[in-house]
């Protein structure tokens, strides 16, 4: 049975799309047929992060309106098997996606995919509510910073009250914390909320900590999900996150300041 996972946060710019791209790519790398859907109608960006922006022909709204079918619209990733992208529309019509339309598309996708990853837009407006409504699980992307933590808490409240699972009284949406842009040295100095602080405030299980890393910007520059940059800390952290999601019991890395040895200090890196 296909699982629907929403990547959400409330606040913008915390790494939802980066996380969606790497999470979906990681699932596909491990052999699961995965589609990642951009719900940010009017502000399409997942295609850029996935590096398929020049291959977009049709979009999510075209499928909802019956102007194109899924086969024509889904973009197959060229690097990883089993990975597909459903791009957002660039229309300015905010009402372009309807709950019935989304449900129809998701039902069709469920028949051939193992995982459906929904990349939510920021905010708590229609698009964000649509992205989370049908979710079975949620990755709540949070930065160790006051406004992001507060917004994540709001989103948790919405998941618990406005999702289909909540409305129908089913088992609640399974929540996972993804703490991104984490800087261990600043946390240890007391200049940044620590992993434990954020976990204590939000009270949901930690799926992964993504360290602040230059490779995130570099990989978005070139349209490669950072999980494919296997030498980078952020890439490794996303790899671990996906493995943990699939049930592996891995310790969290990059939580403490790396002690540089004498040679490392001398030669750098």
């Amino acid at each position: 049975m296909a699982r629907i996972i929403v990547v959400t946060s409330g606040k913008g710019g915390v790494g939802k799309t980066t996380t969606s791209a790497s999470f979906a790519t990681g699932l596909a790398q491990r052999g699961h047929k995965t589609v990642v859907i951009d719900f940010d109608v009017g502000l399409r960006n997942l295609d850029l992060i996935m590096g398929c922006e020049r291959r977009v022909v049709y979009d999510f709204v075209n499928v909802i309106n019956g102007e194109a079918n899924l086969n024509q619209t889904l973009i197959r990733d060229k690097r990883v098997d089993n990975l597909y992208v459903l791009p957002a529309s660039q229309t300015r019509d905010k009402d372009a996606i309807t709950r019935e339309g989304v449900e129809r598309v998701l039902t069709e996708l469920k028949q051939s995919f193992d995982y459906i990853v929904c990349d939510s837009p920021a905010g708590i407006e229609r698009g964000a509510l649509m992205a989370l409504y049908f979710a079975d699980e949620a990755l709540v992307v949070t930065n160790p910073e006051v406004s992001s933590v507060r917004d994540s808490d709001r989103i948790l409240g919405i998941l618990a009250s406005k999702s289909r699972r909540a409305e129908q009284g089913d088992e609640p949406v399974k929540e996972h914390l993804v703490l991104s842009r984490y800087a261990p040295e600043r946390a240890s100095r007391g200049d940044m909320l620590s992993v434990d602080d954020v976990m204590e405030i939000l009270g949901i299980p930690l799926l992964g900590v993504i360290p602040e890393s230059q490779s995130v910007l570099q990989s978005s520059n070139s349209g490669v999900p950072v999980v494919l940059e296997e030498d980078s800390d952020a890439g490794k952290a996303y790899g671990d996150l996906v493995a943990r999601f699939l049930g592996e019991d891995l310790p969290h890395r990059f939580l403490t300041v790396e002690k540089k040895g004498f040679l490392k200090r001398l030669f750098g890196k």
Binding site: D153, A187, S194
Partner: protein, 89 residues
Amino acid sequence: MGFFDYFRSTHHNSAAVAKERLQIIVAHERGRHRRSPDYLPALKKELLSVVRKYVPIDQDQVKVHLDREGDYEVLELNITLPDDDSERK
């Protein structure tokens, strides 16, 4: 913590401040949005009618608020009676 760190860490710890502020605001907002029981409006209405039997008050002079502090809940009722000036008129 090393000997010299003791002197260095005299600058205030902003993460601790952030955590404390967040715990307060998040607890407050959860009370309002996430777990606020739906009987509060009805409770407020009935309280209002009881108090009105004895003292004429406006609707906004009764405030009902539910707070969660750790394991227990605090139901806070605040009824503002009209001051003497307005009564004499």
